[in-house]
């Protein structure tokens, strides 16, 4: 097990390397100049050249990249052009709200998707199943910046149930404040998990072991929850994991709609200020978070499914 995790973590290195290269090049393709962003539109060409030289931007792209890699290896992620502080500290501070948002969305997704999936699978082809299918398709089709605004309008502005935006100082306040953004993210993931669960649970309910469970005299609820669901939840959790990875990109939008001081917000603002080191670091962090989420998903499968457990560790 430990060697498996180590192997997977080592595999992250080439992925991270790829991310740094792609981001490094893409960032420099954005029109605009960091020196101009720092100095403003009235700066003299001489001053701008001096700033560029100080930031190392006057060297060739290849040299810049190698220098960047060299400092990365030494644990130096650079100084933010805009904030003037080490990027590492900046990013670490912004990481918590994003991680909370992701975790919170996962929980809300499950709370919505599992009961809905059970209902759809047990009512397959009947009223509730059709209603859920329509709702799920709608939830999937609506972009999160739109659902975000609608939720704000409905639950915050009209009914005053939740704050319009913000983060908060205590954990209680944060959970309260992050409810709407997390729900917004979850609405994009829950339909996929629900549909996956509907399929896998429908399949499980037709399996031979369900006959065996019923022939033992187990009550229907036990047959459903501890026999069918236990098998059917595995593919659904896999879909959840894959889509939480996808959700990481979504947090950029949602954090900006709800003014959550997370990585996504930092990313957008540093793109505005052409703050190359910050953009690079945030993107790298996003990449690492996605890879870690996939690793956790795979570890979850190994823990929950004895069939995989043996083949993976053996």
């Amino acid at each position: 097990m430990l060697t498996y995790i180590l192997r997977r973590l080592l595999l992250m290195i080439p992925v991270a390397l790829g991310i740094t290269l792609a981001v490094f090049l893409l960032v420099r393709l954005i029109p605009g100049d960091p020196a101009r962003a720092i100095l403003g539109i009235h700066a003299t060409p001489a001053l701008m050249a001096a700033v560029r030289a100080r930031l190392g931007l006057d060297r060739s792209i290849g040299v810049q990249y190698l220098l960047y890699l060299k400092s990365l290896v030494q644990g130096d992620f650079g100084i933010s052009y805009y904030y003037g502080q080490p990027v590492a500290r900046l990013v670490l501070n912004r990481m918590v709200p994003t991680l909370v948002l992701l975790l919170y969305s996962t929980v809300i997704s499950l709370v919505i998707a599992v009961p809905a999936g059970i209902l759809a699978a047990t009512q397959q082809g009947r009223g509730a199943d059709h209603v859920l299918r329509v709702v799920a398709t709608a939830g999937l089709g609506l972009p999160s910046y739109w659902t975000g605004f609608i939720l704000i309008l409905l639950l915050a502005v009209t009914f005053h149930l939740f704050p319009i935006a913000g983060y908060g100082n205590t954990w209680g306040a944060r959970l309260y404040n992050l409810f709407l953004p997390s729900l917004t993210c979850a609405l994009n993931v829950a339909p996929l998990v629900m549909r996956a669960l509907r399929t896998s649970l429908g399949e499980a309910l037709g399996a031979g072991f369900i006959d065996t469970a019923r022939a033992k005299g187990l009550p229907g609820r036990v047959v459903l929850l501890s026999h069918a669901l236990r098998v059917a939840i595995l593919p659904a959790l896999n879909v959840l994991g894959l889509n939480i990875g996808f959700l990481v990109g979504n947090t950029v939008l949602v954090e900006n709609v709800f003014a959550v001081p997370g990585l996504g917000q930092l990313m957008i603002s540093s793109i505005g200020t052409r703050d190359y080191p910050t953009i690079q670091m945030v993107t790298l962090m996003f990449g690492i978070i996605v890879v870690l989420i996939y690793l956790i998903t795979d570890l979850g499968q190994i823990m929950l499914d004895p069939r995989v457990r043996r083949s993976e560790i053996g």
Partner: protein
Amino acid sequence: MVDLLDVDHLGIGIARGDSTVSLVEDVSFTIRAGESYGIVGESGCGKSTTIRAIIRLLTGKARITQGSVRFDGVDLAQAKESALQSVRGAGIGMVFQDPLTALNPVITVGQQIAEGLRYHGVRSAPERRARMLEAMRLVGLPDPARIAASYPHELSGGQRQRAAIAIALIASPRLLLADEPTTALDVTIQAQILRLLTDLRSRLGMALVLVTHDLGVVAQTCDRVAVMYSGRIVEEAPIRRIFEAPRHPYTVALLNSIPRGTRAGHPLHPIAGMPPDPAQRPPGCSFAPRCPNRQEDCEVSAPGWTQDAGGGGFACFHPALATAEATHG
């Protein structure tokens, strides 16, 4: 002996569009306490459907359309779900055809065996575990403690079927239903499982209903046998009589189709043709289109039941002679 199970004029149908297709028609038989009863027939003749209907585990949209299934004086065909739950496992146990799919892949074998007891009044976990280990020893699973902690994919096919049998009998049912319990197994394992079932039946005093397409299996295991064809019982008899003097032409054909002889040169005698689609049974005897004894009256109306002197009977207008042992020689 007392009748343990009384299946009376059982009919099972499945809704298809606006009409109901009849899968099983007018099936009646009784099982006495402790006896072993076989149901044989080709695939699709309704034998599995019949025994699944006994504990109301019909698949898909199939429903009991008429008749009764009396167990202990209670009509299971009409019983409520809660009453069925107390009969399943504790009164009637069931073993299924494919041990590969019959066990839950993510639950340990031991838990799957012991679990049923919890819903049949055994509250104490240590007692459940003790009875689980005892049941595993009873079905001949080696090293019960280790296998109890294993998952189904870690066991062989034969071990899985033994575990499935342990699941079926842990709550001491008086009747065990076995739906082709050996079909999915290797030939050598088949013999072991059959011996185990026979052995358990005599040791535990259970009655056994064994569904199979293999008359050889019935010969080794059962006291009486019913032959089903196209949703009906066409012949029922004590096991000796079926082999010595089969009356229904379908039974004769089944016996002829058993491969015999160990050397080459013994031709196989398959039954020509296919059983009819349940939705389009011929108006008369369902077997008439394939029957060598067919005459005009066979195609007009279905033959009634003729009681046999030695117990059992048959449904045929032109049966083989009672002494016609040579017909399948």
